[in-house]
């Protein structure tokens, strides 16, 4: 039996009648009273995720709306700064294990504060299950109350939290936020049930700001960040949760990440395995890069590796609910059936071995960078005729020994300064139609969490911006069956969840379409 159990924040209606939330608020309040350079302060933990302490103007920490009153001094020494700050792992297979350790360290600090205030010694962080029944898609009310039950200031309340409609109503729209990633088979890599780069993210080194998010990281993680953060009235700034450099200043951050961590545990519980590659197990420090290190109570440095994080039992905590996953459908069986190869589908269902895909190649691309302004943008993706014919032939002759090609839409080198956007990407959306009437044409939805950092030329990613991969095989199958794939081009429409503010710069460097097959 684990010592610590994380429970649902929506217990007792998500109010301060839930003791876990009340103690969390008191613990956060205690940590917020500490100085920026105190290793156990709320601000220090926020900066470990990411920071803009020295930046002037938004999102510099000195210009954030209050509450909370975010300090920019006293700054720690350079060695402490370089050791601890700006560590969060994104667009990487280290995303999940790094954040698990981060949660444990924050939880230990809060627990120490809770105990010192007379609270329970087994206090644990609650999680926000936005996929839960009833009203759980909404932020627990304890986070929007101005005061605690005793009338004092509520440390869980922050001003810069604007929500998906930019009006302060904080909820998670479901869909487009979904749990589709839970049917993935592979932590890193791709197969017919796992779009690239895999459930947990692509193989990388230390990746504070990378390129392509893993499937769990993209949806729900990134989308929840940008929907909760939202854009401020006027459009010049956005909410704390929308940007990794200010996100961990908002106390809802840790409840969101507990839910992401719970999803990882649930995925593992269903028999899906984590990487066994030594580069994952030993972490980036084994490759000569930064180590994962957290301050724990007593100002001790705790260094950890992904191997130490790869199961809940190793770290002595659990969740009150780790539901069994509903059996996922076999995507290849579904596609073979749809493509008119029921016999092959039946053989795959009975366990016939499937020839693995060997080659990925470009199928088509648009011309020129695509600025995303106002209510969206449309571009024409020209297809290479010879590669398109390969795809058509593959779909027409699909079997288990010659599986149908898989097709992916890439948004490459997405750059900009406004993270608080979710982009809905459609293929061949009819002109003047309402996008929401065509879910069958939706390639996917991506959140621009981390856009600003990934776009900085002297940032960790060299200014290449973010990239996104969306599997569109089923849309292409449908076009093939409608005899509409014999075409020179596809239309790609990008519809932001809210109009892009005028002062925001968002550009897609290139829209590419790729095939993966024999």
């Amino acid at each position: 039996m684990a010592t610590y159990t994380r429970t649902n924040a929506w217990n007792n209606a998500g109010t301060f009648a839930n003791p876990d939330l009340l103690w969390y608020a008191k613990g956060v309040g205690a940590m917020q009273k500490r100085a920026l350079d105190d290793l156990s302060s709320w601000w220090f933990f926020g900066a470990m995720h990411g920071e803009y302490v020295k930046e002037s103007g938004f999102p510099g920490w000195g210009s954030l709306p209050q509450p909370p009153s975010t300090p920019t001094t006293p700054q720690p020494s350079t060695s402490v700064w370089n050791k601890y700050w700006d560590q969060c792992q994104h667009q990487s297979w280290y995303f999940l294990p790094w954040h698990r350790g981060y949660l444990l360290a924050l939880e230990a600090q809060i627990r120490a504060a809770v105990v010192s205030l007379g609270g329970p010694a087994n206090w644990a962080l609650p999680y926000w299950d936005y996929f839960g029944p009833g009203t759980q898609y909404q932020i627990p009310p304890a986070f929007t109350a101005a005061t605690l039950p005793d009338g004092s200031h509520n440390p869980l309340y922050v001003k810069a939290r604007y929500g998906p409609q930019n009006n302060g109503n904080i909820y998670i729209p479901i869909p487009p936020v979904n749990q589709n990633c839970m049917s993935n088979d592979l932590f890193t890599g791709t197969d017919h049930n796992t779009p690239p780069p895999g459930f947990g993210g692509p193989k990388t080194g230390f990746s504070h700001s990378g390129s392509t998010s893993g499937n769990l990281e993209n949806n729900p993680h990134n989308l929840v960040h940008v929907y909760v953060g939202g854009t401020a009235p006027g459009g010049a700034t956005y909410g704390l949760m929308s940007d990794p450099g200010i996100a961990a200043l908002d106390p809802i951050f840790y409840l969101h990440h507990c839910n992401i961590d719970r999803m990882w545990a649930t995925w593992n519980n269903s028999g899906k395995t984590n990487p066994t590659d030594a580069k994952w197990l030993n972490g980036p420090a084994a490759q000569g890069q930064r180590e994962f290190v957290m301050p724990i109570p007593g100002n001790n440095a705790w260094v950890y590796t992904p191997e130490q994080m790869d199961s809940l039992s190793k770290v002595d905590y659990t969740y009150d609910s780790l539901p069994a996953l509903a059996p996922a459908g076999n995507v290849l069986v579904q596609r073979l059936t749809l493509l008119g190869a029921p016999a092959a589908a039946a053989r795959v269902k009975e366990g016939a071995s499937v020839t693995p895909d060997q080659n990925e190649e470009l199928l088509g691309a648009n011309v020129g960078a695509l600025p995303i302004k106002g209510t969206g943008a449309v571009t024409t993706v020209k297809l290479a005729a010879d590669v398109r014919r390969k795809v058509s032939a593959s779909l027409a002759g699909a079997s288990e020994t010659a599986p149908p090609d898989r097709v992916f839409l890439h948004l490459e080198n997405v750059r900009g300064t406004h993270d608080a956007l979710a982009l809905n990407v459609y293929i061949n959306l009819p002109a003047n139609s309402n996008p929401s009437d065509h879910p069958e044409l939706l390639a996917g939805t991506v959140g621009l969490f981390g856009l600003r950092r990934a776009s900085r030329k002297d940032g960790e990613h060299g200014g290449d911006g973010l990239s996104f991969v969306l599997e569109v095989s089923k849309i292409i199958d449908t076009l093939h069956l409608q005899n509409a794939l014999d075409t020179d081009s596809l239309q790609v429409t990008i519809v932001p969840h809210q109009a892009v503010p005028e002062q925001a710069e968002v550009t897609v460097g290139r829209v590419g379409i790729y095939r993966l097959g024999q």
Binding site: A285, N359, V367, K382, A384, G459
Partner: protein, 263 residues
Amino acid sequence: MTNSAREFARVRYPVLLLSAVAWILLLANPGGMVGHAHFHAMHSGVMPLGARFPMLLAMNPPAALAAGWLLMLVAMMAPVLIPHVRHIRQRSFRRRRARSTALFVAGYGAIWMAVGAVALAIELAVKLFAAQSYLPAAGVLLLASVWQFSPIKQRCLNRCHANTELAAFGSAADLDALRFGLRHGIWCAASCWALMLFPMLLPQGHVVAMVAVALLIFSERLERPMPPSWRWRGLGSLTRIAIAQARIRLDARTRACAVSSGT
């Protein structure tokens, strides 16, 4: 092996092989490279300058100098191009991969060959006036060290990590691949020019110095981009990898011993 790992291997191994062959050629014939053919009488002080210069040129014809410089580039720089070649292949139509890679390499090479013309001229001048002196090499080493720790160096290194978008079709694709190579060449040369010059000016032991410089260049490219500032940039990355790997192997051996002894 994942598709992405397979594609990485398709680029990595041929490029490393190419670099290895170049190193073997350099190590096998260190005296035959880059302006190193010289005649004893040239630095004996008895031959007038007017006679020494034509003799130096005769013994180091421009074509041979260019070939030697190219060999050095392939040996030292090919490994750092792997991520970019991979990027180009990934973002190009299959039928254009070789062509786009060639254009990228041509652009990159053109910049370095232009830099080489200046570097070789400096080398020849040094051979002419101070063939046996360590002073020019020491001066360049000082300059290289200041450059190495400067914010400008970091800015160049950051730009060396960039993998930008590329047009897919027609002449625009050719132009983008070439432009990518030229741009990368400029930032790479701006980052490494002084380091590359140092071994060339050494009267002796310049192949050893080249190996050291190549390791430094490879090591500093392993670091992620970071804000420009004055800081130490040395072999930290390679050293950290070596220490971390040694520690992991030691731990594994200790664990294995513990298991086999039943403790």
